[in-house]
């Protein structure tokens, strides 16, 4: 077996009582030293995956392997995994030093070693000199760093982070995104990061798992996921998109908005119904004559770096356009795009 694989889920299902499964037959592998992100809407099972890895819960069906060894029945305190909890879960009766030292004290490490390691961990997260502070005297961002220090001081193989940035304000959050990514590179261990924020996921990850209703919809690099979403859900979740239905006439020819366009996709059945994605930034404003699509501007928003235009074509399809050029409301304009901008996806069932 590939010895770079550190965690493997083999047909894992988690079900509470007789409810619908929270995780439904999920299989995946994760390699050592990478930054993984679990991305999905609230309630899709992200925390459940982390809790299965950490060992707080056991799968209903299926197996979990660490380094190729089955771990289903290994209790949480015997796993080489540490967690940064969503609410940080710092011990309120212990000061910063004792919080970070908690895991080391359990391992019966010598006093000087504990002192040295805790200091080092706190330096790692830029919290030198805060050793004697009580937890309630720390700000949100500082608490989060204490939680990270408390986890990494144990030198785990895998660090689990459950929406650690969601409680922070925007500026601090962006800062911490850089710091976490940097931290992962310095430590060289596997990070599994949970978020429901797609921008965060795209900015930080080596690889993203997009989850929906207890299933993995797609896994891939941020670029893969953004450029080649496999279905409507992923395309919609990963960013603002124009998603409309169309028909694959033939390889490299797709029809939507009552017109046929050249595209770069192939391998569909003739005349198969498909979903089409075109990102708003791939649509280019032009004159009606030169445009591939002819639309009427419905609203214009100034977004700082660009204008966001909402337009409708004659068939009632909505087209979102990001452009540095401005257009007037009610104006007829043309939209131009390259064949590569059209992304054709199989239709997901039931919509």
């Amino acid at each position: 077996m590939d010895d770079r694989v550190i965690i493997r889920f083999n047909h894992v299902t988690k079900q509470y009582d007789n409810d619908l499964p929270v995780l439904d037959d999920v299989s995946f592998e994760m390699e050592r030293g990478k930054f993984y992100t679990l991305l999905g809407p609230s309630g899709c099972g992200k925390t459940t995956i982390l809790r299965l890895i950490a060992g707080f819960i056991e799968p209903t069906k299926g197996d979990i392997y660490f380094h190729g060894k089955r771990m289903n029945n290994v209790p949480a305190n015997k796993r080489q995994v540490n967690t940064v909890f969503q609410d940080y879960a710092l011990f309120p009766h212990l000061n910063v030093f004792e919080n970070v030292a908690f895991g080391l004290r359990i391992k019966k490490i010598g006093k000087e070693d504990i002192e040295r390691k805790v200091k080092e961990a706190l330096r790692f997260v830029n919290l030198e000199g805060y050793e004697q502070r009580a937890i309630h005297e720390m700000s949100g961002g500082q608490r989060q760093r204490v939680a990270i220090a408390r986890a990494i001081v144990n030198e785990p193989d895998v660090l689990l982070l459950d929406e650690p940035l969601s409680a922070l304000d925007l500026k601090l959050r962006t800062e911490m995104q850089y710091e976490l990514r940097e931290l992962q590179r310095r430590l060289g261990i596997t990070f599994i990061f949970v978020t429901h924020d797609q921008e965060e996921a795209l900015a930080m990850s080596d690889e993203i798992f997009v989850l929906n209703k207890g299933k993995i919809e797609q896994r891939g690099t941020p670029k893969d996921i953004y450029d080649e979403p496999v279905n409507r859900f992923v395309a919609d979740f990963i960013g603002e998109s124009n998603i409309i239905t169309g028909t694959m006439i033939d390889d490299f020819v797709v029809e939507f908005a009552n017109q046929q366009f050249a595209c770069i996709d192939r391998g569909f059945a003739k005349n198969e119904r498909v979903d089409i994605v075109i990102r708003p930034e791939d649509l280019e404003l032009t004159t009606v004559e030169r445009g591939k699509l002819r639309v009427r501007v419905d609203s214009v928003l100034f977004r700082g770096v660009h204008y966001e235009l909402c337009c409708y074509d004659t068939y009632g399809n909505e087209w979102l356009v990001h452009s540095t050029k401005k257009a007037d409301i009610g104006e007829e304009i043309g939209l131009h795009f390259e064949p590569e901008a059209i992304h054709v996806m199989k239709r997901s069932g039931g919509e």
């Binding site: 950490a54 060992g55 707080f56 209790p75 949480a76 305190n77 015997k78 995994v81 540490n82 967690t83 909890f85 969503q86 609410d87 879960a89 710092l90 011990f91 309120p92 009766h93 908690f102 895991g103 359990i106 391992k107 009580a134 309630h136 408390r150 986890a151 144990n154």
Partner: protein, 265 residues
């Protein structure tokens, strides 16, 4: 001005039912049995008879509190894990609504020579035992009576405990026992203290049970107060003992006072 007006009933209440009785008790403690002002009661209190009684009271109160805590903590812990915890909690609180005397008489029936417990002992071949009027039955019944007051604050403290702290401890390598010792117990200490107060303080001055269940084998300060007021009519001595009981209770309250987490250590 309106604010003060609202406070008047409160201060009246405190004055009438808290301050006045305390002052009266202190006042009475300075009179001997003939009604002369003297300090003789205080001298008597420091004789071996009363000192032994004091030690006795503390010892039994301690036993009752310790037994209650040992049973109440695991019970409260299990309660937080059960499905219908509100129902179970209600079942535990329910007996506190029954009059103390009734419960004591019920135990007289159960523990008597021809009571249900001895009938059971007979049936399984242990034979009839003297149950009533023993130290054991006194502590047992007292624990039974006070235990809800120990369970409730501990249960509340456990309920308030953030469950992810337990996950965090396990995550950092703590076994179940270590998690209990280093996270769960320290964080529910306030509940334990409140429970100990609620049991220890009334146990100190228990009287009726000492007579009914322990058959006057156990003589505590509470019994002495009752005897002085009702039998020997020596109100002064009774009041003096009451003064010492109040001092003891106040010191216990001060010692186990709730220091909230969050204040600097």
């Amino acid at each position: 001005m309106r604010r003060y007006a609202y406070a008047i009933p409160y201060w009246l209440w405190i004055g009438l039912f808290v301050v006045a009785p305390i002052i009266l008790i202190i006042y009475y403690s300075f009179f001997d049995i003939e009604g002369h002002f003297s300090l003789v009661n205080y001298e008597t209190f420091f004789t071996p008879v009363y000192l032994r009684m004091t030690v006795n009271s503390f010892w039994y109160a301690f036993l009752i509190t310790a037994c209650s805590l040992l049973i109440a903590y695991p019970t409260a812990y299990l309660l937080t894990k059960t499905k219908h915890k509100q129902l179970w909690l209600l079942l535990i609180i329910l007996p506190t609504w029954v009059n103390l005397l009734l419960k004591a008489y019920a135990f007289l029936g159960l523990f008597g020579t021809y009571g249900a417990v001895n009938a059971l002992f007979e049936a399984i071949g242990i034979g009839t035992k003297q149950l009533l009027f023993t130290d054991f039955s006194f502590v047992f019944v007292s624990v039974y009576i006070f235990i809800p007051f120990m369970i409730l604050p501990i249960f509340n403290a456990l309920e308030k405990l953030n469950p992810s702290l337990i996950d965090a401890a396990r995550d950092l390598g703590a076994s179940e026992w270590t998690t209990f010792r280093r996270v769960i117990f320290p964080l529910t200490l306030d509940g334990v203290k409140a429970g100990c107060q609620a049991v220890f303080i009334p146990s100190l001055s228990l009287f009726m049970l000492t007579r009914l269940i322990a058959g006057n084998r156990v003589i505590t300060l509470g019994t002495a107060v009752e005897q002085h007021f009702l039998v020997t009519q020596n109100w002064g001595m009774g009041a003096t003992i009451a003064v010492f009981l109040m001092i003891a209770m106040a010191s216990i309250m001060a010692l186990t006072g709730n220091k909230k987490w969050g204040v600097r250590q």
